[in-house]
Structures are given as structure tokens and as C-alpha cells.
């Protein structure tokens, strides 16, 4: 329980009054209630289905020091980067804010996430002084740009992704800037929806102002501020206690985002150094790829959100969320890298960068507390957009779909199928087919689970989903911005990787696969084309050979798993009636265990990274060794050492490599927890023949 003295936030609180714990709770609950009321206001007045059907928006309250003091059931990807948005706005307008001003922004370099997330910040004044900032961030279906839905996989500069709005006063002393608004609406598709969404946010902010002032009137300004301070301080203490319980140390992990350079896959590296020092945690992204002329860049605030979401999920899911918690965590990244984007690279894949930051955090934690982490997330927000002319109504339409994928399995339970991941808010990612068909010139032909897509393991990763949509209007354009379309989500503690994202267009019964999986910009659709969207599964946990045969049999019976995979991966032999055959299973499992490909590690000082704009790890194998492992140049493999998470690398074949060992640099050895002479297991994830890579 915090006391009045000596807590970390400093400043002038000695002058503030004592507050009893009960008033503290009442004020904190009251602040949450204000945020909930803001949410209700947005949801009941917004115009676009992304907001009122999917709930893709968030609200929060900030103090003049730009600290998040309250949020509700809001999307972490929106609300956690919001303090930075408020900071940017304050940097521009500090000293120049008046009652009645309202700030609008979406610039990813100046407080935004990606251009579709439009933020409104409203400074509320008390007795002539800045008091609290309520803020609303909404996902607008379209903010202009080169394709319906604005962001798409193959953008090369930000101007293609829509209208960029640096922090600006859209309303000054109560007078709205109608010229600016007119300019915005003129540059966005389906503008009346955007307009309705804008005013919905304004309504929520006005509501918040009224409630805050009522609350201050009831409790008094000083008591209010004291409660806020205490709440931040105790939240911080709670997070610090969790961090303190972890062993100190430096843990590294790396993963990739999929970037296409001239149509060829050129993976970009995300590298995390996680340092646990006492009750503070440092996450540094030095070593990550410089920003690229592609969508897989995001601001530092977005990167930090991924780190925070993963830490919170592992350490303390029930704890409060406010800036107090963030004080225990420091996230840094060099400028102009994929993890800290600057002008003028696109930033559409903010959700993917956030999810990958969560992945590498889970990977690093898997080295410390493997029993508490889960398999990798499905790895992408999976935004698909189909736009075109609506034959029924003659007006343009933009259909936005973000089918969730599977969740990672954890020690004790399977991952949940098709559900927003731990870095996601309560967004309803499955839109009703009946609503879509009324609204858009589309027919939904299938909405189903994707069998065999979960990462196999003692606990199985959640399955991805599959949605098939037929276009009923004469023309259309399809775009998708997904990641984990080539590199699958990883499993932990011996668990297997899940199935990656897959999208195709079926025309006349034939599949038209995309040359750049997961990244498509404005693919022209014809009437009758069926767009097939399959979301990724979640990573598995533990060896599939340890899964109870009865559970495998149940998975086969319910159709989550094919009998073939049950045999090949889980080593479970099923009888004709579907029940497992214990003896045959035991024998098969023994054989599978023996068949795992293990190779000795040899130290190497050579640079393991290759790439053009991007950077990816290679593992150099002798031709004979590669042949014995049934691997060829360009194959994607996973190396498993002692730690809970695997290391990904592409195979290079070189006659100068050691004949019976796999060369590994010291960083790679650290990540796997192995030393020269130890063995690593090598699993093939994807053959070079199905890899859209250049070299």
C-alpha cells in the first residue's frame, strides 16, 4: 500500500492532501467509468462497421505530464502508444493550448501508429490550467491512398497509404476548422462514414470533459490528483515486484518480418536484447534492420506496445494499465530502423511489428521462464480489404476484414482458435456473414476453422480460420497486409510451428496464388472471383510426442487434426473406431524420437547474416551433411537448443563447411543456450522451392 511519502513520482505532491484507500478506489473506479462511458458514446454514434461491429477503437485519459491515467477494455495497440501521441501534441502546442482546442493526428512519425488509426486529443482545463487530456483513437476504414482500405502490403512510401495528418488543431477555441475537415473528407473514400466517426469521437471527448469536471467537483482537485499519483505509484510497484522475481540477466532473441524487395522476399531482422536488472526491465532493439521501403516499419511506441503486452501477459495479466506500469520498463531502438520508423517509409504494418515485438519478447522470456510463456501468436492482424463499385447501390464500398488467427499454447492448455491475441483488444474479428452480405456486394461461401493449422505440441496451438468471399459486383480490388505468410509462428519448449497465413483468389475453379504471399496491393478482381483468406495458427507448447493419445484422438474425431498428422507428428496410431492403439503408438513414438535430426555445434566467427535491404540468418552446411538432413540451399530451418524458443535460419550449402557439424556464431549459441560440442535439433520449416526468395 503506497504511503504519502517517498514514492517515486516526485513533483509537488507534498502539498496534496492525504487520501484514504477507499477514496482512492472510488476515484480510480470513477476514472475507469469515464473511459467506459466514452466507449459507449463512440460505439453508439459511429458510422462505420469497423467501429460499431468490430469495436476497433480505444479511449484513454491522460494528465498534463502525458501520463496514461485510465483506460478500459481498450485495444493495447491503440492505447499503449497513446502517451506518445499526447507527448507529440504537447510538444507542438505546449503553451498554446486554449479551452475548446481539439487536436487531430494520425502521423506515424509524430504520435500515430498507422495512418488508418486517427486520434483525437482534447485538452480539458480546470480553473484556467490544463488538467486532463481525454483521447480517442479510431480505426477509419479508409484514409485515402492508393487502394481501397488505404494500407496494403506492397506500399513503398507513406504517401501511398493515405492522408498524413501531423498533430493539428482541428478545433480552435471551440471553432472547428471546416477547411481542414473538407480537405480530409475530399481525400478519403466513403467520406460520410469518416465524418460520422469523427463526430462520434468528438461526442465521447465532450462526455469525458463533463464527467471529469463533475468528479473533480465531488472530490476536489487535490484529492483527485493525489489519487492519480498513488494509483500510478502502486501500479508501478506491482509491476516492479513481478520483474524483481525474475533472475537478472541479458537475454537475446531475433525474429523476422517479411519484406519484398522487387517482388523477392528479403526478410528484415528484429533483434531484441532484454536486460533484467533488479526491478527494472530494459528492451533494446539495436541490431534490427534499418527501415525499409516497405510496410514493415513502425514507431518506437508501437514496438514498445508489443514488448509490454507480452510482458504483461506472462507476468501479470490482471494488473492495472497506466503509465505507472510503463515506468518499470524502458524500450529503446535506434532511429530509422523498422522498430523506430522515420520519414518517409510506410508504416502500415504497425500491427505486425507490434506482434513481432511480442514474439521476440516471448522468445527472450522463454530462455528465463520457459514454463510461463506461450507459443508464438498468429503473427499478424491480417487486414484484408476488398473495394470497388457496389453494383447494388452504385457507390464505392470498402470491405475490411481482419480474421483472427490461433493463439499460442501454454503449459497447461491448448491455444484458443480464431481469437484476438494477447496484444489485441476485445475486437470482434469475425464479422457476421449475414451483415456482410447485406452491406456489400459479396457472398460469404465459407467461414470455418482451418484444420491442422495449429502448432503441434503437448499443448496444441489454436487453429486459424478460413473465410471465402465471392465478389458479386463487376470489378473490385483486393489488398492484404499480412505477415507470417512465409515464416510460420514458432512453437516453444519443443512445440511445433503453426501454419502460416495464406490468401488466394479462386477464379473459375483455379487458384491464383500471389507471388508475394501476405503482401498484395490492389489485385484486380472480376465478378465471381472467390477470395480465400486463411489466418495463421498459434505456436505449440512442448513436444507433440508428449500429448496424451486420447486428446490426439479427440482432435481427430472433432476434425481439428487429420489422422495423417496425428500419426506423423504426434506418433498416435488410431484404430478403426478412432481410439488410439497404445502399443502401436508407443512404438511409433519411440521411432519418431529416434528419427529427430541432431547435429553437433561448432563455433564460427563468420557473419551469419545475409540480405539486401533486409537481414536474415543463414546456417552453412556441408553438402554431405545437408543431404543427410534432406536439406537443400534456401530451405528455412529451425534450430533447437536448450532454451525454450528456436532459432530460425536459411540453409546455405558450402563445401568448405564442417562435414559433421553445424557452424554457429556466439550470439546464436547464446540464444539457443548451447556451447560448441552440444547438439542442436534441426527441423525443416519450408522448402526452398516454396520460398519466394531471390537468392
Amino acid at each position: 500500500m503506497p504511503t504519502g511519502k517517498g514514492h517515486p513520482s516526485g513533483t509537488s505532491e507534498a502539498a496534496l492532501p492525504e487520501v484514504d484507500p477507499i477514496t482512492l478506489e472510488c476515484v480510480c473506479e470513477g476514472l475507469q467509468a469515464i473511459v467506459r462511458e466514452m466507449r459507449a458514446a463512440v460505439k453508439s454514434t459511429a458510422y462505420s462497421s469497423v467501429i460499431y461491429e468490430m469495436d476497433d477503437f480505444s479511449c484513454g485519459l491522460f494528465d498534463p505530464q502525458t501520463r496514461l491515467i485510465a483506460q478500459g477494455e481498450d485495444h493495447p495497440g491503440h492505447v499503449i502508444p497513446l502517451p506518445w501521441s499526447v507527448q507529440c501534441a504537447m510538444a507542438d502546442f505546449a503553451g498554446d493550448l486554449q479551452p475548446g482546442d481539439l487536436i487531430l493526428l494520425n502521423d506515424p512519425y509524430r504520435g500515430g501508429t498507422h495512418l488508418n488509426d486517427v486520434t483525437l486529443i482534447y485538452p480539458v482545463f480546470l480553473d484556467g490550467a490544463l488538467f486532463v487530456f481525454p483521447a480517442v483513437r479510431e480505426h477509419w476504414t479508409d484514409v485515402g491512398g492508393m487502394v481501397p482500405g488505404s494500407y496494403s502490403g506492397l506500399s513503398t512510401e507513406i504517401y501511398q497509404e493515405g492522408v498524413r495528418i501531423p498533430p493539428l488543431k482541428i478545433c480552435e477555441r471551440g471553432v472547428f476548422n471546416r477547411a481542414a475537415l473538407a480537405l480530409l473528407w475530399a481525400n478519403m473514400r466513403v467520406p460520410h462514414e469518416r465524418e460520422g466517426d469523427f463526430w462520434a469521437a468528438v461526442a465521447a471527448l465532450k462526455t469525458a470533459e463533463q464527467r471529469i469536471l463533475e468528479m473533480v467537483k465531488k472530490y476536489g482537485r487535490d484529492t483527485f490528483l493525489r489519487c492519480v499519483e498513488w494509483n500510478l505509484a502502486r501500479s508501478e510497484a506491482r509491476m516492479r515486484a513481478q520483474i524483481r522475481a525474475l533472475p537478472d540477466g541479458v537475454y537475446e532473441y531475433e525474429d523476422y518480418l517479411e519484406f519484398y524487395h522487387d517482388g523477392r522476399l528479403d526478410p528484415v531482422l528484429m533483434h531484441l536484447t532484454l536486460t533484467i536488472a533488479g526491478d527494472h526491465l530494459y528492451a533494446d532493439f539495436s541490431g534490427s534492420s534499418p527501415q525499409v521501403a516497405g510496410v514493415v516499419n513502425a514507431s518506437l511506441a508501437v514496438t514498445a506496445t508489443g514488448v509490454f503486452a507480452a510482458l504483461k501477459a506472462v507476468l501479470d495479466p490482471e494488473g492495472p494499465i497506466n503509465s505507472g506500469v510503463f515506468r518499470a520498463i524502458t524500450v529503446t531502438a535506434p532511429e530509422k530502423t523498422i522498430t523506430n520508423v522515420g520519414p518517409y517509409a510506410p508504416a502500415g504494418a504497425h500491427g505486425e511489428v507490434r506482434k513481432r515485438a511480442a514474439s521476440v519478447t516471448l522468445g527472450a522470456l522463454a530462455q528465463v521462464i520457459p514454463e510461463r510463456v506461450c507459443g508464438d501468436l498468429c503473427g499478424t492482424s491480417f487486414p484484408n480489404a476488398i473495394g470497388g463499385a457496389n453494383g447494388r447501390r452504385g457507390e464505392p464500398f470498402v470491405y475490411y476484414d481482419a480474421l483472427a488467427g490461433g493463439n499460442g499454447a501454454y503449459g497447461g492448455g491448448d491455444g484458443v482458435s480464431v481469437m484476438g491475441n494477447l496484444d489485441f483488444g476485445d475486437i470482434k474479428t469475425v464479422l457476421p456473414a449475414e451483415a456482410l452480405e447485406i452491406e456489400f456486394p459479396l457472398r460469404v461461401e465459407r467461414l470455418a476453422l482451418r484444420p491442422d493449422s495449429g502448432g503441434d505440441g503437448q499443448f496444441r496451438g489454436g487453429l486459424g480460420g478460413r473465410r471465402e468471399v465471392r465478389l458479386l459486383s463487376p470489378r473490385g480490388a483486393y489488398s492484404v497486409l499480412a505477415d507470417r505468410a512465409v515464416l510460420p509462428p514458432f512453437g516453444v519448449c519443443g512445440g511445433y510451428a503453426a501454419a502460416p497465413v495464406r490468401t488466394t483468389v479462386v477464379r473459375g475453379g483455379k487458384e491464383l496464388p500471389f507471388a508475394t504471399p501476405g503482401k498484395v496491393t490492389g489485385f484486380p478482381l472480376q465478378e465471381g472471383d472467390v477470395v480465400v483468406m486463411e489466418s495463421a495458427g498459434g505456436g505449440g507448447y512442448g513436444s507433440p510426442l508428449a500429448r496424451a493419445p486420447e486428446e490426439v484422438a479427440a482432435d481427430v474425431r472433432e476434425g481439428y487434426l487429420s489422422a495423417e498428422k496425428a500419426r506423423q507428428v504426434y506418433g498416435v496410431v488410431l484404430r478403426d473406431d478412432g481410439s488410439p492403439d497404445p502399443e502401436a503408438t508407443a512404438a511409433l513414438r519411440q521411432a519418431l524420437r529416434a528419427a529427430a535430426r541432431r547435429v553437433r555445434v561448432q563455433h564460427s566467427d563468420a557473419d551469419p547474416y545475409r540480405g539486401q535491404e533486409g537481414k536474415h540468418r543463414v546456417v552453412v552446411l556441408h553438402p554431405a551433411l545437408a543431404a543427410s538432413l534432406q536439406l537443400a540451399a534456401g530451405d528455412l530451418v529451425e534450430l533447437w537448443g536448450r532454451h525454450g524458443a528456436p532459432l530460425r535460419a536459411w540453409v546455405e550449402v558450402d563445401a568448405h563447411a564442417p562435414e559433421t557439424a553445424v557452424p554457429l556464431d556466439s550470439k546464436g549459441q547464446r540464444m539457443l543456450g548451447v556451447q560448441p560440442g552440444d547438439q542442436v535439433e534441426i527441423r525443416c520449416l519450408r522448402k526452398a522451392t516454396s520460398m519466394p526468395m531471390g537468392t
Binding site: E434, E437, I438, R446, L447
Partner: protein, 719 residues
């Protein structure tokens, strides 16, 4: 003739009888018999010595369906659905209601994937049948269902809310092949768009269908054998009555049977007391239900799930939170004081029950502060031990620097009150209603004890406490009216769809017609940008309609449309769907009563007067409403000034001299006379802080220091 209300709860079965001739009320309580609920009912009826041949109507409310879902005791259900949509139940809406938690799991689908069967068929959004069902294929599916030994089948096809032909055809074939099974279709359960929610409701219906069917059939037979001639009436979740025949087909409509009756009764009694805007507040042992009543009508919703499964049937919009008299106070990992949602329940119960409970609860806090009598058994049955409460609270207080047991007790109550206040804010402020425009109507075992404090927090100036607040729901059975709810999903543009147009669709719904020819909407005009605030308001106004009557068709789209036809515009012939001709017919919610000529008995029983066996209150006061008016209100005497309290003060003792000191929220002591028995004598006299008696020596309400109270009479008429 008699009118009978029966409320079967988890612990007790309440039977309430109103005698028309004698204008008298009798109440009895028997232990519930979960293995055969009918036995408890018959025991209760026998105890009252009732002649069922002279009974005009028996109304029944129960928790059978709800408990079956909550406890997962439903039957084995199979599902038949459109090809390509087998996984609708498991995919849900793809959302997580618990953020950040990697271990969060939504409830498992009530029908496992292996019992969901696809049929190649398709209806389009406008009702066109793209592909009819093939009898052969459905027969094969029926054979598979038979092999799986399902007891119930939900037939759920896409867009059946517009055109149910395919669903009906498939259901007929399945029923033919599985004659003993309970078969229902999604369009008959809830003809509304959004497939997951509709399918989920239909599956819930199937899940409890055979249970309710068997139970009600058995009960009806037993009642008939004892001479009961009319049809049994069942309370619906929307606070009305349906025939037992209807309930057996649509048991999902009885999910909130019990609490809905309480709210309906509150609306009725409130109206008699002259209040049409009420917030009902029903606080029990583990949870608290709050609900808004506007213009004498409870607000309705179709958005509240049960056990995590969407239930789109129309129900009284009851907001439930996990805090009640038995809620446990505890410290979380961050040393935050929390109250609930874990409850001590009935066993072991609060620490003061002295049945083994050691954790401090809200009831313990109330007892320690002398707001419950330490000498009188609770409800006449449970003896309370103040020392146990004190020990439990002191143990918790030791972990909180600067708090003693008394301050902690007060804090626990304030936290519980803050939770209730939050729940009420959600149904008022969050929907644009000002709680100060409402009267707080408090019942349930623990409700009246906290009511005045909650009212103070919210600025509510009047609190009404009904007689026997602990058994209020049972009384509600007698005042509920017949009612059937219809829903359609029409399509229209805002501003171009006068309510009358939707009325057409609804009338067709009522007469069993189709809405395939429902008005098709024109495209909305792009809004001309008006002044800022005006525009924001415009958005709000469009949806304000939705808030009142469900989703109003919005901008040329189908949204959920719960439609309220203009008064008096209903066709004279009620829906055929209401199968019981003996009962007065349809009462459309919010609409006018339509009563064809010569139809059955007069409207529901007038609110009965108590009989001799009723409450032993002042003899000729049929109903006493405790109205608490705040000092700032019109009933103006000033409260006694309180003396400030020093923090080191001793615990408030129980004085044997008939004066008790009470700890009030204003942290002052106030001395007052003990348990006044005549409200009128007290009026304008001593501000009373503590329990208000209903019966002798039984306190039911706790009234803070600054409040006055009085007992007022309500003249009851049968109109």
C-alpha cells in the same frame, strides 16, 4: 377464485395465493426439491390447502433453464447448418473478453464440432432461395444425428430470418426421422440477423428444451390431476407471461424468469406508489441485479449473454454484478482492497454465521457497524455472532496500515456501494439517463440495507422499499401480464422510414407472415455538414432510437429492429402463435393491449391485499412503501448535527438501555431511539440511522444519518 404465483429458487419454493373473494393474500415457503421440483410445488400448494379447481391461473417462474446452462447440465444437442458454416459456434465473433491473458478461454461450444452437420442449401440476404434443401441429404444427416443419440437438434441456416423455408423443410425431415427429439429452428426462436448470435440462442433453446418440456409436462399433469383446469403460465425473461405450451417450445425465453418477475412487480408497485421512473436494485447474497424502469416499463435488451453464450431473446435489461451480502473482502497482489466477486455463499457463509467462514464479508461489516442487529437472528433463522465478524475484519485490517476494523468495515461497505453505484451508472449515465430522475426501488435480502447510501452517491432523493423485500420475486408472479415478443430485421434508411412502415413488417411477423417483402430502403443522402455540435448530436440521435427500441435500421442497412408499433394500430386478431386460447392474448411490449371481444377472463389479478396470514404489520395497511427523502428534499426537517469522531474511538457498543450507537458513513456518531415501530410517529422526529422495521424487531433497511423516512399508504385499486 384463486390466483397463484410459484417461484422455484435454488433453496426455497415460494407460493403466493391471492383469493379474489376474500381479497386476501397468503404466502408459504417450502424447501425446494431439485430432483423433482414439482414435488416442492405440490407440497406448497397442499400446505395452503388450496382447491385447484377454483384456481383461475397458476403462474410459474423458475431457474431450471438458467441453472442447466450455468452448470452445463443440458442435453446432448446436434446442429444442422448451411454448408460452409459448420464452425460458426466455435469461431464466435473472434474476440477475447479478457485482455492480455494468454490463458483466457471462452466457453466451449454447447455443440461439439462432430455433432454439427452441414447441408448444401442457401438463402440470400433478400430472401431468395439460391439452393433449396435436398430431402435425401437431410435424411442422411438425420441418420447421423440418430447414430449420435442426440436428444435435441437445432436447425440453423443462413438468412433464415428473412425466409425460413429451407430451415422448416429440413426441420420437418429431421423431426420425421427423430420423432422423440426436440427440434427447433433458428428463425422460430429469434428471427434476427447475425448468424452467431442467432445460432447460439437456438442452440441454447435446444440445450434446455427437453428438460423444460419434460418438467412442465409432468407439472401440468400433476396440477391437472388435482383439478386445475386452465393452462399453466410461465414468466418470460421479458417480464411477461407465456403459456406452458409455448414455454416448452421456447424455453430459452424463460432464462431470466425469476429476476424478471421481481422487476415487473417493481414496475407495478412503483406505478401504484406514483413513481414511473425507477431503478430496481436487488441485492442478494452473491450478486446484485439492477434494472432501469422508465415510464413504468422496464428497459429491455437482447444483448446479454448467459454463461458467455449470446442469448438474443428479449429480456429485461438486468445488469448483474458479482457483489452481494456474502461478498468477501480481500487484498490483491498490489495490496488493493477488493470486495467480491468471490462470495462466502450460504455455506460457510459470512464469518458472523459462525459456520466456519473466516473471511470478512459485507454482512460482517454491516454487523460490526450495528446496522444489523447482533441479537436478532437474520431472517428469523440464522443467529449472528458479532465477535466472529470482528475477528475476521480485524485480521484483514492488520494488513492495512492505518485502518482499524471499524474503518475497514466502513470501507468495505463503501467499496460495495461503489460497485453498485457503478452498475447503476452503466444502466443510467452510460445511456444518457440521469439517475437523479429516478427513484431507487430496493429489495432482495441485502438491498434495502445499502439503498440509501447508494441513493446518496447518485443524487437519488427517494428510495422505496417494498414489504417482504426478501421474497419480492414471488409476489411478482401475480402482477405479470401476458405478453409475446416479436422481432424482425427490416431494412430502411434513416429519416425515410416512419415507424408505421416497420409496423407492417411486424404485423406480418405476428400473423406468421414473411418479411421478405419488407420495405427496402433507399440510400441515405450524404449529410450536409451542419454545425459541429449539431452534427455530433445527429449521430447520437439516430442511435438514441436504437437505445430505446433495440437497433433501429440505420443508414440503409439491416440492423436489429425491435419495433414498437403505434398504439392502437394492431390488428384485432392476435397471433396464432399464442396457442392458448384460454388466456387473454398478446400483450405486445410497449404496445397496446389487443383483446378480442369475448376473450377470456379480465386482465391480471389486481395487486392483492394481505390476508390474515400475511405479514403481521399494522392491520389495515395493505402496502407500506418506505420512502426515504433526503434532507435537501421537500420533507424538510434538518438532521441532528453529528459530533465529529476521533480516530481512536472505541468500537460502538450495543447499549442495553434501548439506545444504540450507530456508525454512519459520515463518520459521526448519532444516538437515536431504538427500532421505532410506527413510521408516522417518527415522521419529522428523530433521524433514524439503522434498520427500519417491517415486522416487529426485523430490520430491513439501513438509513444514513441525513435521511428521514416515513411509511406511507398506497391505495390499491384493481384498475
Amino acid at each position: 377464485m384463486y390466483w397463484v404465483g410459484i417461484d422455484v429458487g435454488g433453496t426455497f419454493t415460494d407460493v403466493v395465493v391471492y383469493d379474489e373473494q376474500a381479497q386476501a393474500l397468503a404466502v408459504t415457503k417450502t424447501a425446494s426439491t431439485p430432483e423433482d421440483a414439482a414435488r416442492g410445488i405440490l407440497q406448497g400448494l397442499a400446505k395452503l390447502g388450496l382447491d385447484l379447481r377454483a384456481t383461475r391461473r397458476i403462474t410459474h417462474g423458475m431457474t431450471l433453464a438458467t441453472n442447466a446452462v450455468l452448470e452445463g447440465r443440458g442435453v446432448k444437442v446436434g446442429m444442422v447448418t448451411t454448408a460452409g458454416f459448420r464452425d460458426v459456434l466455435e469461431l464466435r465473433r473472434g474476440n477475447r473478453t479478457v485482455l492480455y491473458d494468454m490463458r483466457y478461454r471462452p466457453p466451449l461450444p454447447l455443440v461439439p464440432r462432430s455433432r454439427v452437420h452441414e447441408v448444401a442449401e442457401r438463402t440470400l440476404f433478400d430472401g431468395t432461395v439460391l439452393q433449396p434443401v435436398a430431402r435425401q441429404e437431410v435424411q442422411e444427416v438425420a441418420a447421423r444425428l440418430k447414430a449420435q443419440e442426440v436428444a435435441a437438434v437445432a436447425v440453423c441456416f443462413l438468412h433464415s430470418y428473412v425466409n425460413a423455408a429451407n430451415e422448416q423443410a429440413a426441420a420437418a425431415v429431421i423431426q420425421e426421422h427423430l420423432p422423440g427429439a426436440f427440434v427447433c429452428t433458428s428463425a422460430e426462436v429469434v428471427p434476427e440477423f447475425r448468424e452467431y448470435e442467432r445460432f447460439s440462442t437456438t442452440v441454447l433453446n435446444a440445450y434446455v428444451g427437453p428438460l423444460l418440456d419434460g418438467y412442465l409436462r409432468h407439472l401440468e399433469r400433476a396440477l391437472r390431476a388435482r383439478g386445475y383446469g386452465a393452462e399453466l403460465a410461465i414468466v418470460t425473461s421479458s417480464g411477461g407471461l407465456m403459456s406452458a405450451t409455448h414455454a416448452r417450445r421456447f424455453p430459452v425465453k424463460s432464462m431470466l424468469s425469476g429476476p424478471a418477475a421481481g422487476v415487473a412487480a417493481a414496475a407495478y408497485l412503483g406505478r401504484l406508489a406514483g413513481y414511473s421512473h425507477l431503478i430496481t436494485y436487488d441485492m442478494g447474497g452473491t450478486s446484485t441485479d439492477v434494472c432501469l424502469i422508465e415510464n413504468g416499463r422496464p428497459t429491455l435488451t437482447a444483448e446479454r449473454p448467459i454463461a458467455g453464450y449470446p442469448n438474443k431473446t428479449l429480456q429485461i435489461d438486468i445488469n448483474t454484478i458479482g457483489a452481494g451480502g456474502g461478498s468477501i473482502a480481500w487484498l490483491d497482489a498490489g495490496q488493493r482492497l477488493c470486495v467480491g466477486p468471490r462470495s462466502a455463499g450460504a455455506v460457510p457463509g459470512p464469518a458472523c454465521y459462525d459456520q466456519g467462514g473466516t473471511e470478512a464479508t459485507v454482512t460482517d461489516a454491516q454487523l460490526l457497524l450495528n446496522r444489523l442487529s447482533p441479537t436478532k437472528p437474520l431472517g428469523g433463522e440464522i443467529a449472528l455472532k458479532r465477535s466472529r465478524a470482528q475477528a475476521a475484519l480485524a485480521a484483514l485490517a492488520r494488513q492495512l496500515p492505518g485502518l482499524d476494523a471499524y474503518r475497514l468495515a466502513e470501507g468495505i461497505i463503501r467499496l460495495a456501494v461503489a460497485k453498485m453505484t457503478g452498475a447503476i451508472k452503466e444502466i443510467t449515465i452510460a445511456r444518457g439517463r440521469d439517475p437523479r430522475d429516478f427513484v431507487l426501488f430496493a429489495y432482495g435480502g441485502a438491498g434495502p440495507m445499502h439503498a440509501a447510501q447508494i441513493a446518496s452517491e447518485l443524487g437519488i432523493r427517494t428510495v422505496v422499499v417494498p414489504p417482504a423485500p426478501g421474497n419480492f420475486s414471488a409476489l411478482g408472479m401475480l402482477v405479470s401480464d401476458l405478453r409475446q415478443d416479436f422481432v424482425r430485421t427490416p431494412r430502411a434508411a434513416p429519416g425515410r422510414s416512419p415507424p408505421g412502415r416497420h409496423h407492417g413488417a411486424l404485423c406480418r411477423a405476428r400473423s406468421g407472415g414473411r418479411s421478405g417483402d419488407a420495405p427496402r430502403g433507399a440510400r441515405p443522402r450524404p449529410g450536409t455538414p451542419p454545425a459541429a455540435a449539431g452534427h455530433a448530436l445527429r449521430g447520437a440521435v439516430v442511435r438514441a432510437g436504437r437505445a430505446l427500441a433495440g437497433d433501429v435500421p440505420h443508414r440503409g442497412r439491416y440492423r436489429r429492429g425491435l419495433l414498437r408499433p403505434p398504439s392502437g394500430a394492431l390488428p384485432p386478431q392476435p397471433a396464432q402463435a399464442l396457442r392458448n386460447r384460454q388466456l387473454p392474448p398478446v400483450h405486445l411490449w410497449g404496445g397496446a393491449k389487443a383483446r378480442p371481444e369475448g376473450a377470456g377472463p379480465p386482465p391480471p389479478a389486481p395487486w392483492p391485499r394481505p390476508s390474515a396470514s400475511g405479514a403481521r404489520c399494522t392491520s389495515r395497511t395493505p402496502f407500506a412503501t418506505r420512502r426515504c427523502t433526503s434532507a435537501s428534499g421537500c420533507r424538510g426537517t434538518r438532521p441532528l448535527p453529528g459530533r465529529p469522531l476521533s480516530r481512536s474511538s472505541a468500537p460502538p457498543p450495543c447499549s442495553p438501555q434501548g439506545t444504540r450507537r450507530r456508525w454512519t458513513t459520515t463518520a459521526t456518531w448519532s444516538s437515536c431511539a431504538r427500532s421505532p415501530r410506527d413510521g408516522r410517529r417518527q415522521q419529522g422526529a428523530c433521524p433514524y440511522s439503522g434498520g427500519v422495521p417491517w415486522k416487529k424487531d426485523e430490520r430491513i433497511a439501513s438509513i444514513p444519518f441525513a435521511w428521514h423516512w416515513k411509511v406511507s399508504r398506497i391505495l390499491l385499486t384493481s384498475s
